[in-house]
Amino acid sequence: MATTMTQTETFVGKRVRRREDPRLITGTATYVEDIQMPGMHYAVIVRSPHAAARIRSIKTKQAEAAPGVVAVYTGKDTERVGPVPCGASLPGLRVPHHHVLATDRVYFVGHPVAVVVATDRYLARDAADLVEVDYDVLPAVADPEKALAKGAPAVHPEWPDNTAFTFHQEGGDVDKAFAEADLVVKQRMTSQRLIPMALETRGVVAEWRGADRQLNLYTSTQIPHLVRTLVAQMLSLEENRMRVVTPEVGGGFGSKLNVYAEEALMGFVAMKINKPVKWIESRRENFLCTIHGRGHVDYYEVAAKRDGTILGIKLKIIQDLGAYHQLLTPAIPTLSVLMMPGLYKTKNVRADIVGVFTNCMPTDAYRGAGRPEATHGIERMVDLLADELKMDPAEIRLKNFVGKDEFPYATATGLMYDSGDYAAPLKKALEIVGYQKLRQEQIEARKQGKWMGIGISTYGEICAIGPSPATPAGGWESATVKIEPSGKVTVMTGACPHGQGEETTFAQITADELGVGLDDVLVIRGDTAIVQYGIGTFGSRATAIGGTALYFALQDLKAKIKKFGAMLLESEDVTFSAGQVTCNRTGKSKSLQEIAGASYRALKLPPETEPGLLATRFWEPPNFTFPFGAHIVVSDIDGETGQIKIRRYVAVDDCGNMINPLLVDGQVHGGVAQGLGQALWEQVVYDDNGQLVTGELMDYAVPRAHMMPWIENDHTTTPSPVNPLGVKGVGEAGTIGCSPAVVNSVVDALSPLGVRHIDMPLTPEKIWKLIAGGN
């Protein structure tokens, strides 16, 4: 009778098309902006046009009298709303009090100053123009190195050195390594500020049900439960009186791994006006007031022996923090330090970070968060070293890799690399691209005066973030699996996918474990009223940690299913497979549907067994996972204009076992696009007054279809021993692997001119100047 439920087909490892897509391709998905409620009000935020100023006065009378306006609130009204939280802690960290609305002073362009609430979004926008703020404009500083200089304007008057923290980490004996070195290569390099640019801007709908003391907050976030805990605190509301719903989320890339002023502010407004209120960020606001990424100035020194053996690395990071700490701001550069040795064996490292306040939007986690900077640094340095030693860049890497028989491998920065075969993806990529032939071609091309480059990057990353002691908020993840009386399966994950596709991959895992069809499984996420507490989706963690929590919950259920099956079959010798419990002696079986029905009907129960089929697991990972890979870029440069054409892009990634290779490829492609964006086009530019020059898509260049090369991607598979699925994570790999491969390729192309390094983005003008100057 239950044959439809029985499934011998398995799904893990297959290119299954996504189960979330039907609603997305038909335009019927619900994003925050799509939510409508009776009596909805609309908020528009008045923001500072100055990077640094004292607020002399704010006049709201005219705005309050404007048509449709029900309220205007300023910093005076919201003073008792708790500060925007910083979750990261470092010794001696200076944490400025971050009000949701500015009180007496503004610290960056876009700083929220007032909120106008009206019955109509057009009227709210009109009234925002009527709020009069009298500013006493102060000198600002937008560049972190200038901010450290003597006499620079103080971003926060109480800390005139603009230093939020310093951080030191050391492993091995660096001084000895440098003393024994045959040579030391040094380079200053930057990893510029970037705008994450999720296609859906942020947005919040807040609904206050006063009689129930219940606040419903619909917000476009990667971390609904953390938002609930932290925003409830900010609003002095009992956490169980607050529900955070994350509807469809239109991309995050780390920019929605945060708690923002506007989330608490909308809660505050809804509680004040007793009506639902909606705030949707404009793209301009998104550029000004959603976290930026990167913002590094790095000073590297690498010591080596003449044979290419790397002996030690010194790194000084100047991190542009912006004016405040958002959720993880100061922690991001510490991730760079953890990854600074890359895939190489050196045991001697020394890192110093200076976290610097500037009159800019805070930086925080953007795809890769600290690891792209580290990978860019070490992969550039290895190329510089190879160049100095006249070694082939592939050869020097192979020489220094941690060997595949050395895992688990303890790094100089205190990590334990889980598993790896670092030479494998490099060798595969070299073969795919036809490396030797290309080097021959390059020799010919150079004779003809052509600029052709081949760049290699071999990256490693810290994923599955991460064990709780290493994270600010708990590094576990949760899953609940319910088998309903009909045998249908509902999964609730504490992760919060927003495009990655876990509604599909988690259904694949579940279907295989329970022997049911994909259509029998429903995956729910992103609603704190339905889903048990969870951490969220970021740091390439959802599958490796959330998927593992799911896996263990499924094992619990399978054990219980077997007990019920054994009871129904009146046999202890049973097997559960393909959705059936079968008696090994008689061959008789009971379907999952029959067992589920019996477990809820509960006419009879196995010994010491409760009715129902439900299991929840919170899984704490014992370690991070460490994916790796090799990217190779072949570039041709137009010597007349300086334009770079990417002729070939080969990416061989090892993310452990793949649940769905189709989705893995999609993650790699998207990651590469963002890496290429940083390498070639994207940069946040603030002028000396702290005005954002790249304030719109008119000026901030993101990759478009015609700007992207074809990505030839392939994989090697080294399962992770950290979790039973053997998965590592792949969300950030493309971004991390990409930028050094591009820059190495272009530097390689220009190396006959003596070019050693170029800072990103590699704009045509920069390249042209090098060529014109070199000739």
């Binding site: 009109d126 301009r284 086009w681 898509l697 260049a701 003008e765 014109a772």
Partner: protein
């Protein structure tokens, strides 16, 4: 994202539109430049007259050996027009280089030219084509040469109550080759520099050269010295390089985040050489 309030009229006839303009209204064509500015509240016209619905301004026709393009003809219509592709391919090629598909579907030649963005594409072609613009007001009807039309960035010879009625370009004579070469702005797609070239060959020699330049400075222009340097020549690579080297001479080049004045000037030379080379190849 939300523009200020305004009054809107969509007149049925051109005369009606001109009367409204005379009374102080602002024209709305495809809206591709104006509407984003209104949404950012950088522009706030009180009264918009929608020219988009005037059927009598949407045409491409040939009369007396010249081509007449109505002001509300879209970039997409120009790009795909069989008659323009055959008889004035430079204009079709230029239209194809504007913005993106959606922008070309809505944006109009009249709107773009009247807006006079210094990084717009058409002005290069119009200069090279020695195009004429028919301007019309409630009480005026005049023809202005493209050379005189563009005054400065976002400033033209249009009077406040006038609109562009049509753009007039020549039917290319036999033996003419043309090309538009552009350095795309990576974010906006506008021209960092755009060069339109026309080359006509007669009996093996270059008889006529026209070079229009956009993006380099606040005002699009014809590079007359460069043109003269190539006329009468055979068109060797060296001759083309020498002529191209003159396109930016003495020009006050713009400078911004994406291209310094020095680089822009250099790009003008490079793209002029490429445009001339391609145009010359197309004379065959």
């Amino acid at each position: 994202m939300i523009p200020q309030k305004f009054e809107y009229t969509a007149p049925k006839t051109l005369d009606e539109a001109l009367l409204l303009l005379a009374a102080g209204a602002k024209p709305l064509a495809g809206g591709m430049s104006l509407i984003p500015m209104m949404k950012l509240r950088l522009a706030a016209p009180e009264h918009l007259v929608d020219l988009g619905k005037l059927k009598d301004l949407n045409y491409i026709r040939e009369t007396d050996g010249t081509l007449h393009i109505g002001a509300t003809t879209t970039h997409a219509e120009i790009e795909s027009s069989p008659i323009l592709r055959k008889k004035c391919p430079l204009l079709a090629e230029t239209a194809a280089a504007i913005g993106d598909v959606q922008v070309r579907n809505m944006g109009t030649i009249g709107g773009s030219v009247a807006h006079a963005d210094p990084a717009a594409d058409y002005p290069a072609a119009l200069q090279a084509l020695e195009a004429k613009l028919a301007l019309k007001g409630a009480k005026s009807d005049r023809i202005v040469a493209a050379a005189d039309f563009f005054v400065d960035a976002f400033t033209t010879a249009l009077q406040p109550n006038e609109i562009i009625r049509e753009v007039i370009v020549p039917v290319e004579a036999a033996g003419t080759g043309t090309s538009y070469q552009k350095m795309f702005h990576p974010a906006s797609g506008f021209a960092i520099v755009g060069i339109a070239a026309r080359v006509r060959k007669k009996a093996g020699n270059i008889a006529l050269v026209r070079i229009g330049v956009t993006g380099l400075s606040n005002r699009p222009y014809r590079a007359a010295t460069a043109e003269k340097a190539l006329e009468g020549k055979l068109g060797s690579a060296t001759e083309i390089q020498n002529a191209a080297a003159l396109v930016a001479k003495g020009v006050d080049a713009n400078s911004d985040l994406h291209a310094s004045a020095e680089y822009r000037r250099h790009l003008a030379v490079v793209h002029a050489a490429r445009a001339l080379m391609t145009a010359l190849a197309r004379t065959a």
